[in-house]
């Protein structure tokens, strides 16, 4: 697995897209810092970008990378190496190169701004953590979809739909259901609904850290009330980790039974 990871990481880090992704974050973070002149505000603005963009890019790259390397995977499958190692190696190669672009892209402007000595350092680290978790989750989801669907167009559409659903539609449906069932106690329901969406989880993770109650929203407020800030943070972080582990495990399980 390490060997596959090494080479697919080298392959990806040299691609033009990694550079573009890096530059995008560097420019965005740099200009936000320059305009707002306040780390806390910049972190909040970046959060709104990250929770939409990281999943989208991870999904697109995940599907594209898998379909592009299909023939290469076949060549690797003919070598004396486990199936799981091939797929996991490629998975980590992609996620880690994306995460690196993301972390460096945000990190460099913030370093120049003097984040290291600032009290907002932990906030910034949590932001990076949330974005990385989202990347890991959505690349895994994209791989699961791509492994399952031989048809590229179908795989692509499905992956984009999953992203759209979790990033946009889910909140709408959630609010709608809260509105319809407003006569009932909905605390537990909304807690469960929140853990079922990795994007919501990351948002709450960052919000709890920032302690901006005005931006918590309904679910965040319930989360905060139910668990308190510190336990809420741990709960949302571990749910986020589950959102990485479960898709990765199902990806491995699918790959074991697949005909290439």
């Amino acid at each position: 697995m390490i060997k596959i990871f090494k080479y697919s990481f080298f392959d990806l880090i040299r691609s033009r897209w990694s550079l573009i992704y890096f530059l995008f974050f560097a420019v965005t973070a740099g200009s936000l810092l320059y305009l707002s002149n306040d780390v806390g505000r910049a972190v909040v603005s970046l959060m709104n970008i990250i929770i939409i963009l990281c999943p989208l890019i991870a999904t697109m790259f995940g599907v594209m990378y898998y379909y592009n390397s299909r023939e290469f995977i076949e060549l690797l499958l003919a070598q004396p190496i486990r199936r799981e190692s091939i797929l996991l190696g490629q998975y980590f190669g992609l996620t880690i190169s994306l995460t690196l672009s993301f972390v460096l892209g945000l990190g460099i402007p913030f370093l120049f701004y003097g984040i290291l000595g600032s009290i907002a350092l932990t906030n910034f680290v949590v932001l990076l953590l949330a974005g990385s978790l989202l990347t890991f989750t959505f690349v895994a989801l994209a791989f699961v979809i791509a492994v399952k669907n031989e048809n590229k167009i179908k795989g692509f559409s499905l992956a984009i739909f999953v992203w759209l659903f979790l990033a946009v539609l889910y909140d709408g449906l959630f609010l709608l259901s809260l509105f319809i069932f407003e006569d009932y106690p909905l605390d537990k329901f909304s807690l469960i609904m929140t853990t079922l969406n990795p994007i919501d989880l990351s948002r709450i993770l960052i919000m709890l850290q920032l302690d901006v109650s005005a931006l918590l929203g309904y679910t965040g407020a319930v989360f905060n009330k139910f668990f308190g800030t510190s336990i809420g943070f741990i709960v949302s972080l571990s749910c986020g980790l589950f959102w990485v582990i479960i898709p990765v495990l199902s990806m491995v399980r699918l790959a074991k039974r697949k005909d290439f």
């Binding site: 080479y7 080298f10 023939e71 060549l75 004396p80 005909d259």
Partner: protein, 245 residues
């Protein structure tokens, strides 16, 4: 020795292999022929463990392949389509496969044979289809593997490379390798194959030498013999369909 017994595989409703029994000898070149969709690639991929059979058993060198992956260090495989990570160079891909196999490889003579020296440091995304196929050939032959499996080896090769490939295959035969080959180019089969296996509708329709085939069909050219078998087969189908129940 490759031993296949009662191999069955369906993709959805499409039953591709319907109980194939195949025994490949200790050395020599064995050509697997058959019309499109007859299951040639499926057999090859089953041997390599890429396709998981629904039934039957496969042994390579006396080892059952089910749940096993180490047996693949005895196999060199040339896939039909050659594609690699685009931002790696040729030299890096060769190094990578060597790294993965973790066994001695002798790639230099092959690189020279196929004239790959000028391309060693170019990225794979900049190479033509034929050049990529040559990279594939180097990867396939550079290990001293006992079994060599070639799936449409001639795709995209220019005449010079084709001649080198034929020479190479012949040398490997003399070295006592077991070579499995699928192709649609019958001249290649006539030139190289010690044994022909003809697949039709998921079953082995014919197996034997070139002479056996000529004897059976009464044609001298292999191309014609195959065409004859296929035409006869489709006529029989029509008759079957037109029979009243």
């Amino acid at each position: 020795m490759i031993e296949i017994t009662k191999l069955e595989k369906a993709f959805g409703k499409n039953q591709v292999l319907k109980g194939v029994d195949l025994h490949v000898k200790e050395s020599g070149i064995c050509a697997i022929l058959g019309p499109n969709g007859s299951g040639k690639t499926t057999i090859i991929k089953s041997i390599l463990g890429m396709v998981i059979p629904d039934g039957g058993n496969i042994e390579v060198g006396g080892e059952k392949i089910k749940g096993n992956w180490l047996y693949r260090n005895q196999i060199g495989y040339l896939p039909q389509i050659a594609r690699f990570p685009e931002n790696l160079t040729v030299a890096e891909v060769i190094k990578m496969v060597k790294d993965i196999r973790n066994e001695p490889a002798d790639e230099q003579p092959l690189i020279e044979r196929f004239g790959m020296k000028p391309f060693l440091n170019s990225r794979l995304s900049n190479l033509s289809g034929g050049t990529r196929q040559k990279v594939n050939l180097v990867l396939c032959f550079m290990f001293n593997a006992k079994y060599i499996i070639l799936d449409e080896p001639t795709a995209g090769l220019d005449p010079i490379a084709l001649i080198s490939l034929k020479e190479l295959i012949n040398e490997e035969r003399i070295n006592g390798k077991v070579i499995l080959l699928t192709t649609h180019i019958m001249d290649l089969v006539e030139e190289l194959a010690d044994e022909i296996i003809f697949l039709l509708e998921g079953k082995i329709f014919f197996r034997g030498t070139l002479e056996d085939m000529q004897e059976m069909t009464g044609e001298v050219k292999l191309e014609r013999s195959i065409a004859k078998i296929l035409m006869k087969n489709s006529e029989e189908h029509k008759e079957m369909e037109s029979l009243p129940n």
